[in-house]
């Protein structure tokens, strides 16, 4: 039954779209403006001014920060998948005693505030001399984002009919082969999705990155952006150029793969 949409619907739609995109759009527009245009609050840049981007990329250690972020987030996403897939498979397919309690525990970790455990972690990392290394970031990220990966993937695995695997087991297929030959190919979209989500969360993470890094050795993009104004006070042109450079890949990927990401972010909600 298709009804014609009311005027109220379209007004609401436009309003919500504007709310969602304006802050980011305004950041993009500002990054293309010259200092004078920024202070005069011109809506559109007069020229396509790219100097802010050139300044950000050539002057500061921003490229190093981007490389750090790519490395840390990439390794985190890979490890999350590597240890998350077997765990999710166990939760989705196998019966065992402590299953429900352990699954609730996994869920609990996904929402447990990092600030409450950060001081002993800091002491520990400092005592082994790991502060300001990739290791100091990857370890807490893997611990924090794998539970989310497990939670989402468990939902995905449950949507795959178990009959195929049962036949394989009757044919004498080992569990390792079962996962690599049958489960993985079937759930590749799900795995790709959680990989992107884990990558995005690591890319955006701030608290651990702020405390566990002290120089461009391991400093990631969010920390660099938060400290930007300190060094280049009031240079909003460069500030926004840095913000856009750091977010545009993630934003484009999210928009292109929105269907998968949305199904991933809500997979647990539907199942439980």
């Amino acid at each position: 039954m298709k009804k014609k949409k009311s005027l109220l619907f379209w007004i609401g739609l436009v309003l919500i779209i504007l709310i969602n995109i304006i802050p980011y759009l305004w950041t993009v527009l500002t990054s293309l403006k010259q200092q004078g245009e920024i202070y005069d609050v011109k809506i559109l840049p007069e020229t396509f001014f790219l100097d802010n981007y050139v300044a950000v990329i050539t002057q500061s250690g921003f490229l190093t920060n981007i490389f750090n972020s790519i490395f840390v987030s990439g390794v985190t996403a890979l490890v999350c998948i590597l240890i998350g897939v077997p765990a999710a498979y166990a939760f989705a397919r196998m019966q065992f005693k402590l299953k429900n309690i352990l699954f609730m525990l996994v869920l609990f970790i996904t929402i447990f505030p990092g600030i409450f455990i950060i001081s002993p972690l800091f002491s520990f990392l400092r005592s082994i001399g790991a502060i300001d290394t990739y290791f100091a970031l990857i370890i807490p990220y893997v611990a924090y984002f794998t539970p989310l990966v497990v939670w989402i993937l468990t939902g995905f695995f449950r949507t795959i009919p178990p009959a195929i695997e049962e036949v394989a087991i009757m044919d004498g297929c080992s569990v390792f082969k079962l996962i690599t030959r049958i489960v993985l190919p079937l759930s590749l979209p799900g795995i790709l999705t959680v990989g992107i989500i884990a990558f995005t969360l690591s890319w955006n993470e701030f608290l651990f990155a702020l405390i566990f890094t002290s120089s461009d050795n391991a400093r990631t993009v969010p920390v660099a952006i938060s400290q930007f104004q300190g060094i280049h006070s009031l240079n909003w042109g460069q500030m926004t150029a840095a913000a856009v450079t750091a977010t545009i890949p993630i934003v484009l990927i999210s928009i292109a793969l929105q269907k998968y990401i949305i199904s991933g972010l809500t997979a647990g909600a539907i199942k439980e």
Binding site: L13, I17, M94, F206
Partner: protein, 291 residues
Amino acid sequence: MKYKYLPYLLLVPVFTMIIVVVFIPLVTTIIYSFQSYRLTNTEEKANFIGLDNYVALFQDDRFISSLLTSLIYIAGSVIGMLILALITAQLANQAFKGRSLFRATILLPWAVAPVVAAQAWKFMFETDFGIINHILKSLGLIEKNIPWLVSSDHAMMSVILTNVWKTTPLLTLIIISGLQTISKELYESADIDGASPWKKYYHITLPLIRPFIAMGLIFTTLQTINVIDIIYVMTGGGPGEATEIFTLYNYKVFFQYLDFGLGGAMAVIGVTVIGILIYLYSRNMNKQMDT
């Protein structure tokens, strides 16, 4: 399929990480909370001082006020997120051309890093050349620029709005998935009875998505407390301590004042409060599922 040891074996890597990064530090934090342990005097060993840290906390006005500030921040955020998420989810659940594009715009604030969102809004709230004052002025709504982030009257509202923008998508998506579980027939029979759209929404939709709302709110509330990024970047907790929420103060006690004992006590109280919060939310949710 029944296995004896295999499932546990598959879970070992994940739980090793959880134990090393979350559980052991949590226990250590509890131990810290009973000690006098400052990072500034590393030579001095941490001494057991009983409940002194807790006593000191409850005599600390700044701690009490940070709890109240958190409550205001959470309450404001929850109200804002609920309104925005319910409307957005309702729109996104209709069939119309360009719906997937609309959903992509919902995801945009989720994809943007909190730090970037904070900088973007900070720039829009800027007193002299921020777009918000510019628009309000050209509409004739204000005569003088409002110092959004500089005055304690407006700072809280500004950080709440920013948090609502950044955090709502998660709630919206969970509510959409709730809306998709409602069968169309319920609405059709209500149509035959001649129910108005508002009545249908209030009597059919809302009760059915309530568990999803409750769950979405647990997630977004915890994210609101957890992500200090927004306030850290926009106001640093100021002006004065107007926007200093509990977790931000805890961060400062740990890493600016380097007092791991006092900070530990704050963290223990925080974990307890959050535990109670989750318990109340989930009990409420179960009740609604039963009825």
